[in-house]
């Protein structure tokens, strides 16, 4: 197996994340007010899970692109399985759901073979046309629209949108992108997840006015604004290390990631509220399921990718 370490900046970035996690762990276990808080064990579990997530991502990024693609394909699989296990499905569609799972290896094969146009159109066109056709041929019309609609929405979120994370690794080198595709990927994931945490912390400390009480009663205007401002600042500070962005583009992406990360988060909240469940699963202790953790990324990944592609990879991405 060929090991291809990512650029130095990415390694430094990962080291920085480990440092942050160590500090966070120290604070949670040593600060008396946090140690005796009512949600102390949940907080500890959550940080423990962060360690696992960061270690797994580090391994995926530091070996080679193929391993990283397999990791993201597996992430899509876990998320799709969680989604299909949560939503009502029709017994008659069992085989159709099997085809839906097959979309994952095929989509990641397009990424692996760097077939950009196919990567873009496969889920929105071919899968979109094929699965309802398969359903129609089964001949059951009761619940057809709901089944076709929910299935495609899930595939778009966890196969098409998340696939953009993996495609960042396939982008050609760009003179200003000093840390390559892995740098962009690191920047995107770090900012998205940090934005989630920043919104949570700002909301906990200053939160007064609710934003979307019917969807997510704990989200506040103060949390949202504080989180977005933090993310803009970080996006600007980190951009020269990981991206080709100039100052204006860096501030722009900070705003975009901060806002749309929030939208991704509440979209999955709305899904769970509609289904009458609290967490999407219990695979990640302290966080819930996979969908609970990747919710923001389902929005930020495709938007970040196309923002970057539009401004810096015009020749490659049409």
């Amino acid at each position: 197996m060929v090991i291809m370490l990512p650029q130095t900046n990415v390694l430094l970035g990962l080291a920085g994340v480990f440092l942050l996690l160590t500090i966070a762990t120290g604070i949670i276990y040593l600060l008396p007010s946090l140690r005796s808080a009512s949600n102390a064990t949940e907080l500890q579990q959550r940080v423990k899970s962060w360690w696992m997530i960061v270690i797994i991502i580090t391994i995926a990024l530091c070996l080679n692109h193929t391993i990283a693609l397999i990791f993201f394909a597996f992430l899509s699989f876990l998320a799709l399985k969680e989604y299909l296990s949560l939503i009502p499905t029709r017994r008659v569609d069992r085989r159709v759901l099997f085809w839906a799972y097959l979309a994952i290896p095929i989509q990641y094969y397009w990424i692996y073979s760097n077939w950009y146009v196919m990567f873009l159109i496969f889920v929105p066109i071919y899968v979109f046309l094929f699965l309802p056709m398969r359903m129609v041929l089964l001949g059951e019309t009761q619940g057809f629209l709901k089944a076709a609609g929910t299935l495609h929405w899930g595939l778009m979120l966890v196969v098409f949108n998340l696939g953009h994370l993996a495609y960042l690794l396939m982008l050609p080198s760009h003179p200003a992108a000093v840390a390559g595709g892995a740098g962009l990927l690191f920047y995107l994931i770090f900012l998205t997840e940090f934005n989630d945490i920043a919104q949570y912390v700002w909301g906990k400390t200053l939160g007064r006015h609710k934003v979307v009480p019917k969807v997510s009663p704990k989200k506040t205007v103060e949390g949202l604004v504080g989180g977005v401002l933090t993310t803009i600042l970080l996006a600007w500070g980190l951009a020269p290390w990981f991206t080709p962005f100039d100052t204006l583009h860096a501030l722009g992406i900070g705003l975009l990631l901060g806002m749309t990360g929030f939208i991704g988060d509440i979209t999955i909240s709305a899904l769970k509220r509609d289904l009458g469940i609290k967490d999407s699963g219990n695979l990640i202790p302290g966080h819930g399921g996979v969908l609970d953790r990747i919710d923001s990324l389902t929005y930020t990944a495709p938007l970040f990718f196309h923002y970057t592609a539009y401004f810096y990879y015009q020749g490659f991405c049409g």
């Binding site: 399985k81 009502p88 017994r91 069992r94 099997f98 469940i277």
Partner: protein
Amino acid sequence: MVKLLRLLFFLLIVRLVVLIILGLRIRHKERLPVKGPAILVANHNSHLDTLVLMSLFPLHLLPFLQPVAAADYFLANPYLAWFALHIIGIIPVERQEISRTKDPLAVCATALAQGQMLIFYPEGSRGEPERLSKFKSGIALLAKSFPSVPIYPIFLHGLGKSLPRGSFLLVPFFCDVFIGEPIYWTGERRGFMDLLNHRMESLAAEENLPAWE
């Protein structure tokens, strides 16, 4: 040798299928028994039920786990019979006992006396996927003979979607496992069966499970 094969089968193949392809969401795992004798009673929708129930326990308990299974189905041909008896480790029972002189559950009694943990499906067969059918009362006979053996009701959801009766195509779904507090023989058959049915229904109602129509 066969014991090693059984261990490897459960360590490699069963864990791969159950933990990676399917994935478990277990509620009240702490209620599981740590030693026999015990009876695990579950609803039955799929061949995967047995594999999932057996993966709930650490591998060192594998020799103590034995599913009670239909002799007419699993001993039908020699290959399946070898696999069922030696790899899965079933206790075969006759479903249609013609002569009333022989007790079909005598083998189960022997195993319980030896401290085994039995997996028992009182629905009698896999039935309609994701529908709980009424329990048959064979379990009551066993409970009556062993009033001090704990009986754990376990409700499974999702496996009937993944691999229902009559299908060979495995479609991945998370499997929900709800483990109940143990119950014991109550002194009379109807009361015991009502209690067991009631416990299963309340386990099934613990969470909002998605429809499968």
